[in-house]
Symmetry: none
Subunit: 285 residues, 2 copies
């Protein structure tokens, strides 16, 4: 794991002084790698051995070794740490932080997603007689997006963000149908019900949700993303983006499985939009 992430993750295990060190490093990582232990200690207002202990706690051999690891973390072009937005942040700060924490979230999602399950989900989807996407609240827009994608494949696809409609739809499902339930926490009661009902009616239920959740228990296949969410904001943010990317992945897998002549079809769907749009050439003159 990236040292920067490691610092963020273990921030709770740090002592008071160690946290001071962590803060200084996270605030100016680039400066840190060019500083001596003395300079850093001064910046953090702690003693040199404290800095050294801090480095050791992060499983490095000492300060120089720590700097090496830090340099590598920064090199990736990824200062993708999940930095939290704070009260006093200006537009630059919060814009940068949100972009970065979203990218960090995608990075962890990438590492956690189980390719095997993805592949099986694609399998199931390509063989589906009908596909339904269900989500509530923030996940509803993810479901809509999924509908928009799969609709292009000329497959029977529906999407409901209304519990009653979802229920009715689930009751009517049958073998060969695929129901995709989307929920970050996986603890929304209504959605768990839907999953259970769909399963009782022999549909295959794919859950895009937390691995160890009540919803997961009701699903045939669970696609878990394990994205950390900034709870300070009281809004779903990164989790939703990761879900969308997963939808993209499933859709892509679907098109690849169907082969190249199927892609022609997609092109036709896209071209059909031409009439509703200003031509690029018309406009560029």
């Amino acid at each position: 794991m990236n040292v920067l992430e490691k610092i963020v993750n273990s921030v709770n295990n740090f002592s008071k002084s160690e946290r001071k060190v962590a803060d200084v490093i996270l605030a100016n990582p680039q400066t840190t790698i060019h500083s001596s232990i003395a300079a850093l200690a001064k910046m953090a207002d702690v003693s040199e051995p404290t800095v050294n202990r801090f480095c050791r706690r992060l499983d490095t051999k000492g300060f120089p070794d720590f700097k090496l690891h830090l340099a590598q973390s920064l090199a990736n072009g990824t200062p993708y740490v999940n930095r939290h937005v704070e009260e006093e942040d200006g537009p630059e700060a919060y814009t940068a932080k949100i972009f970065e924490s979203t990218m960090a979230a995608l990075d962890t999602a990438r590492q956690h997603v189980d390719i095997n399950t993805v592949n099986r989900a694609v399998d199931v989807l390509t063989q589906a007689k009908k596909i339904s996407f269900f989500g509530l609240g923030a996940s509803a827009s993810v479901a809509h997006d999924a509908q928009n994608k799969f609709f292009r494949f000329n497959v029977p696809v529906v999407c409901f963000d209304d519990i009653v409609m979802q229920r009715m739809s689930a009751i009517n499902s049958a073998e060969g149908d695929v129901v995709v339930c989307i929920s970050h926490t996986g603890r929304t009661k209504n959605l768990c019900d839907i999953a259970a009902i769909a399963r009782e009616n022999d549909a295959t239920v794919i859950g895009i949700t937390a691995y160890d959740s009540p919803l997961a228990k009701e699903c045939t296949l669970v696609l878990s993303l394990d994205v950390p969410e900034d709870t300070d904001m009281y809004m779903p943010m990164a989790s939703r983006v990761a879900q969308l990317v997963l939808i993209d992945i499933l859709a892509t897998g679907f098109t690849l499985r169907r082969g190249s002549k199927f892609r022609e079809n997609l092109k036709k769907v896209k071209d059909s939009l031409r009439g509703s749009r200003f031509d690029k050439k018309d406009f560029n003159n």
Copy 2:
């Protein structure tokens, strides 16, 4: 330039002993970054000052600084490139590629987004009497998501993905109202109309769209993301994700502008969901 490349390039400018050092480093770069100058000197069969001079020749401050640069070179060069999915890609390949190209897209979006405009947009939104989000096709789900976010702020917010409803809503807009039009290309005729109508009725129109597009021309403020889209897929993918992140940014700017007691309110909204969910503790037994 990468230090490793630099070594290879300037191999002709090296003296005999310096070349010995270069050879050893190129042969085992990973070992080098964990060695002391003494160890490396021994491996290369030269003296310590020679190694130091070698480092200086490569425009580094000395041996430790050189190791830092070397560490950065070794840290997997450029992971987040926009790699395209290909016909013969397996699940691992396309999953990785989609995650990476999405992250790459966010990275460019981050660089292109104009902070000033973001700030002005937040300004406008915080003062809005009513906020409307309009999008069509794939952008409709982005609009829905935006509605879901701003709705929590207890502001009058609407969202329509139906042209007729959008039209009626736009006609009814008035000074103080803010209309947000979302379109990646900015060439959807209907949406351009909506923007024009809203403007004629004195609403402020924010466009989340391409900078140099017909839609942009109709807007008061243009938030451009300049995300490259993989046209091979014939589906909007990265652009949509970037738009969502932008929505997150606007929403975050909004809450920050409103101050900390407003955040309490958000917490209440989130807590209101508790009844609809399985308790974490209930489940974890």
